[in-house]
């Protein structure tokens, strides 16, 4: 019997591929069930991006341009862990977001809100040995997106993680607590109700830096390994 290194994900964790409230899923979601693949070397290996050298300012999105961007400066930090709570050491964390006015520095974004020449909105961080990562950025604004009448995305930061294997790859979005737009957002609400709160950062008073910036804590949980037969044998 093949033994999968990474735990199979039970239902109820991720959104369905097709979610009627999110219109563009209709033509972009497979309708046939995915073929279940035993995890081979192709799935249990994956890019670790260890050779990727990060610049000193890459995790500080407020210091990448000539001046400081407008908006509310925040610290976003947390840990990358697996399902058993074990750290994913040295994980590469990539983020991107719109500016404080709700506009992306992207040619496709035509929202009538100002660009900020001091904010590009992309950052990378390397987690430490305990899986801890940290960014300094500004709080992103809400923006309209045309999915339905008067549709607004709640403030969010996009996150991309590789984890240790092809099987653990994840792209997600971090939201802010108590945002009234969450209740109306089909992308957030595509996630099964029990799991949604995992996409909300926690306000972190302890991490807040006096006279400087509020802090938010966002832990990211990637797929973990199955217990090995030896671990089973020892209970």
């Amino acid at each position: 019997m093949a033994h999968d290194l990474y735990r199979r994900t039970p239902p109820g964790q991720h959104p369905p591929n097709r979610f009627d409230g999110y219109k563009s899923t209709a033509s972009r979601s497979p309708t046939r069930p995915a073929v279940v693949l035993p995890q081979t070397l192709s799935e249990i290996t994956g890019p670790l991006r260890r050779d990727e050298r990060l610049g000193a300012q890459e995790n500080d999105l407020t210091r990448q341009r000539m001046g400081e961007p407008l908006g509310e400066r925040i610290v976003v930090h947390g840990r990358v862990v697996d399902e058993a709570g074990r750290p994913v050491p040295n994980a590469l964390v990539e983020i991107w977001q719109c500016n404080a006015a709700g506009r992306y520095h992207h040619p496709g974004d035509q929202h009538d809100a100002p660009l900020d020449p001091n904010f590009y909105g992309g950052g990378r961080a390397r987690a430490d040995d305990n899986g801890a990562y940290r960014f300094v950025t500004i709080k992103p604004g809400a923006y309209p997106w045309g999915n339905h009448k008067n549709a607004w995305r709640p403030a969010h930061i996009h996150f991309s993680l590789f984890g240790p294997a092809f099987a653990t790859r994840l792209i997600t979005q971090m939201y802010f607590p108590n945002d009234p737009l969450l209740a109306y957002d089909p992308i957030y609400n595509s996630v099964p109700e029990r799991a949604r709160h995992r996409l909300q950062a926690a306000f972190d008073m302890d991490g807040t830096q006096p006279e400087w910036a509020l802090a938010y804590e966002f832990d990211i949980v990637l797929r973990g390994r199955n217990a090995t037969p030896m671990e089973n044998g020892h209970g």
């Binding site: 563009s24 995915a34 081979t40 192709s42 994956g46 994840l170």
Partner: protein, 187 residues
């Protein structure tokens, strides 16, 4: 907070900055061993329209069939400068292009070898979960005995086969839905 997996969300249309600076469409610098190949992966939606805003990542073994990763403990050569990871955005015609080397064969857990293949991740606006598929090379004699292709309905296997065009580029259309929907894997 950490009471379960972090759920997946769409990449959205405006991925930028860190992702873009991390693009790597040319995986194999000069000196890397193996047959040089070019790939053109084209995304289509269920209606057959191109998907011009998708992001495609590839992950592959080197020409010796060795993954650059600690889980691959076999005594096969690693190539300096070849990680095996590529990332490129689809252009306005829905196509993401890569230059790399043809991968070698990697083992199947129950014995034997898999046919040469490239592992693919697809992200796009309207795609809530990463879609995982594979690219195989049409005409490869190893296809006939590949254990993964055996898991796939024979009528749909061709959705995983890249074909070599007149210019020598390996082309694979990837259909997110519709009659020609690509086979995606749950790994």
């Amino acid at each position: 907070m950490a009471d379960g997996l972090t759920p997946s969300q769409t990449i959205g249309p405006f991925y930028w900055g860190s992702l873009v600076s991390g693009y790597r469409a040319d995986l194999a610098p000069a000196g890397v061993a193996g047959e040089r190949i070019e790939l053109a992966l084209t995304l289509y939606d269920a209606d057959g329209a191109v998907v011009p805003d998708g992001l495609i990542e590839i992950w592959q073994a080197n020409s010796h069939g060795r993954y650059n990763h600690p889980e691959d403990r076999r005594n096969l050569p690693l190539d300096t400068g070849f990680e095996g990871f590529g990332r490129a955005s689809a252009d306005t015609s829905g196509t993401a292009r890569f230059a790399t080397v043809r991968p070698g064969r990697v083992p199947w857990p129950e014995g034997g070898l898999q046919a040469p293949h490239i592992n693919i991740s697809i992200f796009a606006r309207g795609v809530l979960n990463r879609l995982a598929t594979r690219l195989y090379f049409e005409g490869d004699p190893a296809l006939a005995t590949d254990p993964v292709l055996k898991l796939v309905d024979p009528a749909r296997r061709s959705t995983l086969l890249a074909t070599c065009d007149a210019a020598g580029v390996w082309c694979l259309p990837i259909h997110l839905g519709g009659d020609r929907e690509t086979v995606f894997f749950d790994c």
